[in-house]
């Protein structure tokens, strides 16, 4: 059996992997795992944690545990979708900017700058306000603010690769710019981008739940963690309403950050270079 790559042998990576795995299981199996219908308002209102409702009940008499479990089906898939979309949009735009340079680069990067000039939440707020509060619009809002960081990173990586010898060699062998981009450039930016994306799943989850917390995201009665924390703020001393969904956000984000951090260590170009040089000496 091949040994696990170094990154995976780190305990934090394992914790992150296990946590993320657990949450993914919850996403799939929430209906089986949840003791109650997350929308049913048939329990006593504002009951503290106890048998029958281990995380307590909320102001409408719904089971907080079931809502937290179902909340995973909202936040996690959306965060994944969001990250994939921003990766796609930012990646393509950034790759074009980096590879073609000139006005393409100028245009894309100036737009990215413009977006960067807004604090994320405020821009997302304006977008959500403009389009109405809903999860789709919140996703759109986060998308608007999230793609530029991918564009920037991709552009930087592509610019670095563009003048690398193997890319030039390809061009000299008659690759068109597109083929070069596809065959030589993109596969080599994918690794770092995936690390970024893994770390960004956490950020996306935080942003989405932040918007829902502000009332600009999920529509009720959807069990969404940010919105659940917001309803928890209405009842400071009924701590369970807000604390458990908050913990859910924390653990999900933490899981992906643990994973991403380990991946980044493994893919760190510095480390990679040293490893390469090491091999050279041994060979």
């Amino acid at each position: 059996m091949r040994r696990l790559p170094r990154a995976w042998r780190r305990p934090l990576a394992v914790v992150g992997g296990v946590l993320a795995g657990l949450w993914l299981v919850i996403v799939l199996a929430a209906p089986v795992l949840a003791p109650h219908d997350p929308l049913a308002q048939d329990l006593p209102r504002l009951a503290g944690p106890g048998p029958g409702h281990w995380f307590g009940t909320d102001e409408l008499g719904r089971d907080v545990l079931s809502r937290v479990l179902y909340g995973a089906r909202v936040s996690i898939p959306l965060a994944l979708l969001l990250v994939s979309l921003s990766l796609l949009i930012g990646g393509v735009l950034g790759a074009c900017a980096g590879f073609f340079g000139r006005w393409v680069d100028e245009t894309v990067m100036r737009i990215a700058d413009l977006v960067f000039a807004f604090p994320t939440v405020i821009l997302a707020m304006v977008v959500a306000a403009a389009l109405g509060a809903s999860l789709q619009n919140a996703v759109l809002a986060v998308l608007v603010v999230a793609w530029p960081s991918y564009a920037r990173v991709t552009r930087g990586l592509v610019m670095g690769l563009r003048s690398r010898e193997f890319v030039l060699s390809g061009r000299l062998l008659g690759f068109s710019a597109w083929r070069s981009l596809r065959v030589d450039v993109l596969p080599n930016v994918l690794g770092p981008l995936l690390v970024l994306a893994t770390l960004d799943i956490g950020t996306a989850t935080l942003l989405l739940s932040g918007l829902s917390f502000l009332g600009l995201g999920a529509k009720p009665p959807t069990a969404e963690w940010g919105a659940m924390v917001a309803s928890g703020t209405q009842q400071f001393d009924k701590w369970w309403i807000g604390v458990f969904p908050g913990l859910a956000i924390l653990t999900v984000v933490l899981a992906f950050n643990f994973l991403g951090d380990a991946l980044r260590d493994a893919l760190d170009p510095g480390t990679a270079r040293t490893l390469g040089a090491e091999k050279e000496r041994v060979a």
Binding site: F166, S169, G170, R171, L173, F175, K279
Partner: protein
């Protein structure tokens, strides 16, 4: 790896009438934001004939790589012309390179950067074979495996990734890829300077052998004069964006005429155990963005005389650009 013979130099073929590559009065500039552009190549003329190995030497920053890149169309010239087999070499744009130009191939300096780490080396060599096919050259039936054996590796290595090879091996793979395109002109931009001393002459000799074997011309760039001496038929000495002397290797070696060439040769320490300190050339290569007036070498020239700081000597028919030899 099998050590390659280093001694059987193919005899210099009689110069063909039409040059394969002719560079004429080439100027290449780098724009710098908010400053005068750098003239990295400042009026260079050079020819490479089929089957000929031209060694281009010069100190760091004198514009060797820039010249090489311009020859391959990777950098657009500011002035002058570059013709390959009589047709002009246009700069590389977004579209694919003119298939005819895939007859010009290049081997780069950095063995770690010249192969795509995400692709098997077989696939990368196959790109070269495909380039030749795309041009309409009849297939010669060579497979990546064959090419690998030709550069002294095993055919099984085709399925491996670049990371699994040493620097010297990678450079051989890069050469195999370039050769797969069956080039008529091979440009090597310091292809050996990143290698171990023991690997350097092996790889250099291999390049010469394979290029000449296939009847292609080779423009070999290096700052290591001893290697150039070993493989080049003709030598061109570059200083600060200009070629200051050119001529058959043995001639230049035995009888360097330009003061810079002389200094360069004298500075090479000989491993003869004699304990002779090499001669020193005072000063450094000036910034190409602000070259000295007149002869570019005059501030460092031990034999500069009155007027060298004003008059800019041109490369004369004798192959030297120095006022000492002005007619």
């Amino acid at each position: 790896m099998t050590p390659l013979p280093t001694s059987h130099l193919t005899p210099v073929p009689t110069p063909a009438p039409a040059p394969l590559l002719s560079v004429d009065d080439l100027v290449v500039q780098y724009r710098r934001p908010g400053a005068e552009p750098t003239r990295a190549v400042a009026g260079v003329s050079l020819e490479v004939r089929a089957g000929e190995v031209v060694g281009l030497v010069g100190e760091s920053g004198c514009g060797k790589s820039t010249l090489a890149r311009a020859v391959c169309g990777l950098t657009a010239p500011k002035e002058g012309t570059i013709a390959f087999e009589g047709a002009p070499v246009g700069p590389l744009g977004v579209r694919r390179r003119d298939p005819g130009l895939t007859r010009v191939q290049m081997v780069f300096q950095d063995p770690y950067g010249s192969l795509n780490p995400r692709r098997r080396i077989g696939a990368q060599i196959a790109d070269g074979i495909r380039a030749a096919a795309a041009r309409g050259d009849a297939a010669d039936g060579a497979t990546p495996g064959d090419l690998l054996t030709r550069v002294g590796l095993s055919a099984d290595d085709a399925a491996r990734y670049p990371q699994e090879f040493s620097g010297g091996q990678r450079q051989r793979i890069a050469i195999a890829r370039a050769l797969a395109a069956r080039p008529r002109l091979l440009v090597g931009d310091e292809p050996i300077s990143a290698l171990d001393a023991s690997a350097q002459s092996q790889v250099a000799t291999l390049m010469r052998l394979l290029a000449v074997e296939s009847g292609a011309g080779l423009l070999f760039i290096s700052h290591d004069l001893s290697v150039v001496r070993l493989i080049a038929d003709r030598i061109a000495v570059m200083y600060l964006g200009r070629i200051v002397e050119t001529g058959p290797t043995a001639e230049v070696w035995a009888n360097p005429r330009h003061p810079y060439t002389r200094a360069l040769l004298a500075a090479i320490p000989q491993p003869d155990g004699a304990g002779l300190l090499p001669a020193e050339l005072p000063g450094d290569v000036p910034d190409p963005a602000a070259p000295p007036s007149g002869c570019r070498f005059h501030p460092r020239c031990p034999v500069a005389f009155d007027g060298c700081d004003r008059e800019d000597p041109q490369l004369v028919a004798g192959g030297v650009a120095c006022r000492l030899y002005a007619a």
